[in-house]
């Protein structure tokens, strides 16, 4: 396996220009959507089958009339332990040699299990193609020696692309520098490969708690419970089975007359 590639989205450098969002659409030929009124600049409200990079605009009023406007370019996290990949029954979702998670559109049959299995609400079903869609980490580009289109378009290097270990080292320094500058809540999200989901190959630097960005604090891979849940089912099967056996083992019932 090649060295794991990653995208590091440093929200402290993001200016919300949405060049990434548009570059993704353009490169991947995703086409027009009808926007939603979200009450802010953000469009769309969530990832869609045609919006794989989504810049979030979070207004946070602060005391004394001050405020913060948190800008975050969100994307599929390319989880090391990916719920979507675990879920996929067709093998359409595959882990590439670079460690990224990609949906093979020619294989996907549209069962949508992946949609329900992503802890971040990334994968989206497309009713026209009948298949599931999400960021491919620009699979075509990285296999041809190019970085992702979104990273390429970002004017402030808020999205950085490279080998994961290099980027994590960089991000660790950056977060320390920010904390020294007074950004007390600056933190990395998903950089730690010992942490949740085995680490995210698209990880983030946040300026506030994950919850502020609507991100789960401790996302879990949904399949972790499959054994336990199955054992419980088995227990239930035993009980009803025993009940039935008991019922059918009862003799002499037939001797009673019917009361129709």
């Amino acid at each position: 396996m090649a060295r794991t590639l990653a995208m590091f989205t440093d929200t402290s450098l993001c200016i919300g220009c949405r060049a990434c969002q548009v570059a993704c659409k353009q490169w991947n030929e995703l086409g027009q959507e009808v926007p939603e009124w979200t009450g802010t600049y953000q469009n769309h409200a969530h990832f869609t089958d045609k919006t794989f990079r989504l810049v979030r605009f979070i207004e946070e009023p602060k005391p004394q009339g001050q405020m913060a406007w948190l800008l975050m370019s969100d994307v599929c996290k390319h989880c090391a332990d990916a719920g979507c990949l675990n879920a996929c029954p067709t093998g359409a979702i595959e882990r590439t040699a670079f460690g990224t998670v990609n949906i093979n559109q020619d294989v996907c049959n549209g069962c949508r299990y992946c949609v329900s299995a992503c802890p971040f609400g990334v994968v989206t079903f497309n009713h026209d193609t009948g298949t599931a869609h999400k960021c491919s980490f620009c699979n075509d580009r990285i296999h041809n020696g190019l970085g992702p289109a979104c990273a390429k378009a970002c004017p402030t290097e808020s999205i950085q692309f490279g080998f994961r270990d290099d980027l994590v080292a960089k991000a660790t320094k950056r977060v320390a520098a920010l904390q020294a500058m007074g950004f007390k809540e600056a933190q990395l999200y998903g950089a730690d490969s010992q942490g949740f989901l085995g680490g995210l190959n698209a990880f983030f630097l946040l300026l506030a708690k994950p919850a502020t960005y609507n991100l789960p604090d401790n996302p879990q891979v949904p399949q972790r419970n499959v054994v336990r849940d199955s054992v419980f089912s088995l227990g239930s099967a035993l009980l009803v089975g025993l009940g039935a056996i008991f019922a059918f083992r009862r003799r002499g019932e037939g001797k009673e007359s019917d009361h129709a």
Partner: protein, 272 residues
């Protein structure tokens, strides 16, 4: 921010029908193995009921896919711990067992073979009734993903609805005269009791996470349709008047309604 899969009507029906098919099949198999010869109608009805239902399952499952022609892609891979993957395989294998068992149900000569097949197929019947629950409980969705007993609950419900369906058919074809009728009502009662108990533990374990069904829009349907009309009332009717066939039939119908409501509220409560 989470996304729901959009498993709606077809899947509600699929889950419901799959539960009945599985329940009917294992009831048939158990009756065959552990019952008397007079329980033969139950066995035959169970197997013959499971067959079309599992076929319907297959149709629904395929029809609900975004690209139905690619159903076979499910069989490209086998992921042992993936409910959807083994589910697809499971439905297929169970279908085969249903065909064989249905065929064998007409022959007394091959009873031993039938029992053997039935005992193995029964495992897949149990599987079909419960894997749908585990499928939901291993998603990232709120409520579903937290419901550790979803599979157990679906299984109990599959059993009770399967038995209810078999007893109704018995009544319709006039086979409700024998002791099979009473046995299956008895078994159904026990399943209902088990289902109630599992449901209780299910709700207690979920606590606030069960809110999508216990409060709000879906609450009346859940409490009234499933807990009340679908479990408590038929159980009460059955206990009080299980000797009266019409009452037994009514309670079977209610059990079926309850089984449907369960699938409906569980699937739709967080998807609409």
């Amino acid at each position: 921010m989470l996304k729901t899969p959009g498993w709606e009507w077809m899947i509600v029906v699929y889950f419901f029908v799959g539960g009945i098919a599985g329940g009917a099949y294992f009831t048939a198999a158990l009756a065959d193995t552990f019952g008397t010869r007079r329980d033969g109608t139950v066995t035959r009805v169970g197997y013959l009921l499971a067959l079309p239902l599992v076929a319907l399952c297959g149709i629904l499952l395929i029809a609900d896919l975004g690209v139905p022609t690619r159903f076979m892609n499910m069989l490209r891979v086998f992921k042992f711990w993936n409910p959807m993957s083994i589910g697809a395989w499971g439905v297929g294998i169970f279908g085969l067992f249903s065909v064989v068992s249905a065929g064998l149900s007409f022959s007394e000569r091959l009873a031993t073979l039938r029992r053997g097949v039935g005992l193995v197929g029964m495992i897949f019947g149990f599987f079909l009734a419960s894997y749908t629950g585990v499928l939901l409980s291993t998603t990232a969705q709120p409520f579903w993903g937290e419901a550790r007993l979803m599979g157990a609950l679906f299984l109990a419900s599959g059993a009770s609805t399967g038995m209810a369906a078999v007893s109704l058919v018995l009544l319709l074809i006039g086979g409700a005269t024998g002791e099979g009728w009473r046995k299956i009502r008895w078994a159904d009662r026990s399943s209902m009791v088990i289902e109630l108990v599992v449901l209780g533990v299910f709700l207690a374990a979920l606590g606030a996470a069960a809110r999508p069904i216990t409060t709000g829009h879906f609450a009346p349907l859940f409490w009234g349709g499933l807990v009340g009309a679908g479990l408590l009332v038929p159980l009460g009717l059955d206990i009080v008047a299980h000797r009266v066939k019409v009452v037994g039939a009514l309670s079977a119908v209610l059990v079926l309604v309850g089984g449907f409501v369960l699938r409906y509220v569980v699937l739709m409560s967080i998807q609409s």
